[in-house]
Symmetry: none
Subunit: 360 residues, 2 copies
Amino acid sequence: MLEARLQEAALLKRLLDSIKELVTDANFECNEEGINLQAMDNSHVALVAVKLEATGFKKYRCDRPMPLGVNLASLTKVLKCAKDDDICIIKASDDADILNLVYEARNSDRIAEYDMKLMDIDAETLGIPDTEYDARVTMPASEFTRIVRDLSQLGESVRIEISKEGVRFASEGEAANGSILLKQTEAAREKYANYGKEDEAPKEDDDDDDDDEEGGSSKKKVKKEKVKKEEKEDVEMDEEDENEEFKVKSDDEGEEEQDDDEEEEKSSKKRKKAPAKTNGKPAKKAKKADETSADGGVLIEMNQHVSLTFSLKYLVNFSKSSTLSNTVQLMMSNDVPLLVSYKFGQGEIKYYLAPKIGEE
Amino acid sequence: MLEARLQEAALLKRLLDSIKELVTDANFECNEEGINLQAMDNSHVALVAVKLEATGFKKYRCDRPMPLGVNLASLTKVLKCAKDDDICIIKASDDADILNLVYEARNSDRIAEYDMKLMDIDAETLGIPDTEYDARVTMPASEFTRIVRDLSQLGESVRIEISKEGVRFASEGEAANGSILLKQTEAAREKYANYGKEDEAPKEDDDDDDDDEEGGSSKKKVKKEKVKKEEKEDVEMDEEDENEEFKVKSDDEGEEEQDDDEEEEKSSKKRKKAPAKTNGKPAKKAKKADETSADGGVLIEMNQHVSLTFSLKYLVNFSKSSTLSNTVQLMMSNDVPLLVSYKFGQGEIKYYLAPKIGEE
DNA sequence: GACGAGCCGA
DNA sequence: TCGGCTCGTC
């Protein structure tokens, strides 16, 4: 028995819009911690993984783990019947052959109910290794969208290169070549100081993580820009002992960033001691970053020069998730798949894409 | 000789958009009272009836009744040449083989003139009986549009069921079943209190009706929401003697509604004495309701449980008329055609659709 | 010719 | 983020 009540149907609608072109059928793996979806794209080139935290729901109950095999086109149709601000309740009984969706208008004058057939899908949940990446770019989702769209007009591939200089997106096409260099924004360092730290060691204390994330999420909805600096200070002080930054630096490439750190952050020495580790309560800021980052800012974290080439078609597709979050993170190491991650209030969507070989 | 001057070409454009897919050729029956069009749809399943009151025109003159046989595709083309806010003058001489359309820009800087060939069409004007329906739903046109669109994604038919509970639209499809329940909105009772009363006995005093309607119409364009309550009071008091409500109730099903009435309306006893009758000056409110109802509200009037099944394709088609009015009324009795009616400032468009048999 | 989806601009 | 416009499909 699953019952999950979502405050706004819009989240699910956007989520489906994000993945329905990539994947036709997928299992929504429901358990007490939330709902996960993981699937290769139809051409088995990319992998998409969605996580919806139980705590992101207004109400969530899942008695036992159950996979819900969903045809995404059908679900999209059914979700189209919801208005964005409808409350959305999804239910499935234990036999899991029907997904029941109820949409309640805000004023309850309209109640729409849909029953969708489920299907059996071979679970092919791959364990995704918790890679530590050599470089991470945190940037406005809209900017990423724009870049891959622009470049996709010129060519089919983009070389993404992260260096001390910044992050460069370069494409070559018949009519023209293009190259976009994003330098790190000074403001971004502060802004994203704790963005998405849970990526690094999500298992350390998942429960705290979730609770904090939810609490943070609701608060942020109310508070606004003004608040972010105060909160940031709070967290930095409160959590000084455990607050580790992702900033992975190699000795020969990190000077610039180290300078910044020392100017800005008291706890910088910890970061240097233990790069690529993280603390247990970072999510408050992840939420903030989401809302905060509308005004841009690029944060580049790297411990090694990275340069990889990817298919723009897929990146353009991934960038549809900009409806879910204002911020996107690109995680890269040489010769391993790119990870594109969008975090949002109730969860996260990650895309993995293998680099093209021998193209740069 | 016909000459009719319309304040805004947009009305005609929208009207044609509403019916051109349903009907290819039709007679515009012009007489001194206005212009009427009545036609079966191409597959002879639905009937569409349009009424444009003479009083709805800025100027109207029709010396003798004349049918203007129009190919709607041609007229649509010609109307596309008008800007929405152009003044539109249509003329036909007595031989009625040419329809002359003149579009005048607001500032008279541009005058466009078109001559369209007319054709002879066998008049097949059917008398439509003035049915009294067992149930009537008055609701925002946009909501009706949305519902039939949504459900048409799932299946081909919709069962519309009106009960004490409200009105339910239910469809079954391969991928999913859907059911939407609209409860009556409390605010709607007041809002639609006098909406469309002329349906019931339109012949009682047509002339007064028309005059009032036009006056009301122009006023309403200027006034807004704020005004509606005052006007309503005025009419109720001025016309107390003749102001009868539609509210048809059976003793066993009307309690809920009666309670509302008593709370809200002074003249409720009259309504109960003579249900399904109407007064002579209802149109002021019809107009108001049009503009008023953008913010929703569902009014359900019934004296009997009704449940019928219809082809969604047609309902979707009918719902195109939501460009003409913010409010739609569904009139139903068991085993007789559904009447879908949109009233607008200058007239009304009605669609009749026979129910599907043996499908529920 | 109409409908729906996707993209671009405000 | 929403609405309008354009392109592609049925």
